[in-house]
């Protein structure tokens, strides 16, 4: 599945490059700006729309909260509890894609928040998805706020693109996670 993800990543990146190649200069600037990721273009409209998408996605995920918790026990055990694991995965991926699109459409590609926040949340509240799902969202917001503050403080007077800040914090965090957890979760 990881390979499929990498292949899909390359596919979409090449489509992005194609768009950049074909675009007029003004549009090109917009595309590049979007790729950086930025919270500076927030409007009440964008907040309202992404909020609505969040509410919809959260509602859809909430119904599967206990099934997602059971998935922690492994596919075989989840199936033995009567869960259709394949359908659950498809449903969840569809909802997650929707949620991610709803955010990314307005702020661009800000990476590593999705990797860092849920792990922080799990360390705080455990694996019960009724609590972990909202907590992950909350931690994501906390990380974004922190990164936003950092992006304004790093070089006074200028704003470092937030995507760079999250990558700078996120990558070492990811390595620390991999090295300390070792065989446990990966």
């Amino acid at each position: 599945m990881i390979l499929a993800g990498i292949a899909t990543l390359f596919l979409f990146q090449s489509m992005q490059s194609l768009l950049q190649y074909m675009a007029a200069p003004e549009v090109l600037q917009e595309i590049v700006f979007w790729l950086f990721g930025s919270l500076l273009k927030a409007t009440w409209f964008s907040v309202a729309v992404s909020g609505a998408v969040l509410a919809l996605g959260a509602g859809l995920l909430a119904r599967d909260a206990w099934r997602l918790t059971a998935l922690r026990l492994g596919d075989a055990r989840a199936q033995s509890l009567g869960i259709n694991v394949r359908a659950l995965r498809l449903r969840s991926f569809a909802t997650l894609s929707l949620l991610t699109a709803g955010a990314v459409a307005f702020v661009g590609t800000i990476g590593f928040v999705g990797l860092v926040a849920p792990h922080l949340a799990r360390m705080l509240v455990g694996e019960d998805q009724r609590i972990l799902l909202p907590m992950s969202a909350l931690m994501g917001a906390v990380v974004m706020c922190g990164a936003s503050i950092a992006s304004k403080l790093i070089s006074p007077g200028a704003v470092v693109p937030i995507g760079i800040v999250t990558a700078l914090i996120g990558v070492p965090f990811l390595f620390a996670l991999i090295l300390t957890r070792r065989a446990r979760h990966w």
């Binding site: 206990w66 026990l73 075989a76 055990r77 509890l81």
Partner: protein, 268 residues
């Protein structure tokens, strides 16, 4: 003091069960009768379809055939899956779910945004009957293999099934825990009348704990009956391709001692 009335043992009839995997038939028109109140051992060489049979009955694998539970026809579906609890082989667990949460998951449909207090009390009572109350708040990943198997057994029983399907429940356990788990399952079957079908590799274990053994071979039932009647050297040679010695000790226990691999004249 008079003994409490034993509940009626469950009766399950399986007729013409057919399970295919990637086009190949694994179970072919398998017909079988199972009776509750005792442990029934499912024996057979690797790949003969023990796990397939258990998973088909649990509703995890698609299967064709008819089921009759306690005399009434039982159609495949959600209601049927609710009555059949399946315990897969122990694959370890790194989860930080607590023991009581794991047991509660046994009744997934009853769990919502809030978990009803009576349900938690029931789960605690279930853990108590297993002697696991001291571990209730511990993480699943922090338990030993034996304790974990007991927790998953409690989870399977929390769903109040009529049929308990165990896939090699003792393979990963030490001697003491093997005895504990099997004796517990036997006692439960005796007291509640449920059907307990366990795929076992240890023939001695099967002989000692099971009231009935079923030997699978070639996609169907080869033979079934009481261990003392069914398990003999010719059967073991035919089923496992092994020369074995079988004798009854003075205390009446059946001992199976494998000696050598038998040369097969034709492929099984």
């Amino acid at each position: 003091m008079p003994a409490p009335a034993m509940p009626e043992p469950a009766m399950l009839e399986i007729e013409n069960l057919r399970v295919t995997r990637a086009g190949k038939p694994i179970l072919n028109d398998l017909s079988l009768g199972l009776r509750g109140g005792e442990l029934t051992a499912l024996l057979g060489p690797n790949g003969c379809g023990k796990t397939t049979l258990l998973q088909a009955l649990a509703g995890i694998l698609p299967a064709r055939g008819t089921l009759r539970l306690d005399g009434a026809a039982l159609p495949w579906g959600r209601e049927q899956r609710r009555l059949f609890a399946y315990m897969p082989q122990d694959a370890g667990a790194t989860s930080t779910l607590s023991v009581i949460e794991t047991v509660l998951l046994g009744r997934l449909s009853a769990l919502g945004l809030r978990v009803p207090h009576p349900l938690v009390d029931e789960a605690a009572a279930m853990l108590d009957s297993f002697g696991l109350m001291p571990l209730a708040a511990r993480d699943l990943g922090a338990l030993s293999g034996g304790q974990r198997q007991m927790v998953f057994l409690a989870q399977a029983l929390f769903a109040r099934p009529r049929v308990l399907l165990l896939d090699e429940p003792t393979s990963a356990l030490d001697l003491c825990h093997q005895l504990i788990v099997l004796e517990h399952v036997r006692r439960l079957a005796r007291e509640t009348g449920i059907i307990a079908l366990a795929a076992l590799h240890d023939l001695g274990q099967a002989a000692r704990h099971a009231g009935r053994v079923i030997c699978l071979s070639g996609g169907g039932v080869l033979i079934q009956g009481a261990p003392a009647e069914v398990l003999d050297a010719p059967l073991l040679r035919r089923l496992y391709g092994v020369h074995a010695e079988i004798h009854h000790s003075d205390s009446g226990t059946l001992h199976v001692t494998p000696l050598a691999v038998a040369m097969t004249e034709a492929s099984g």
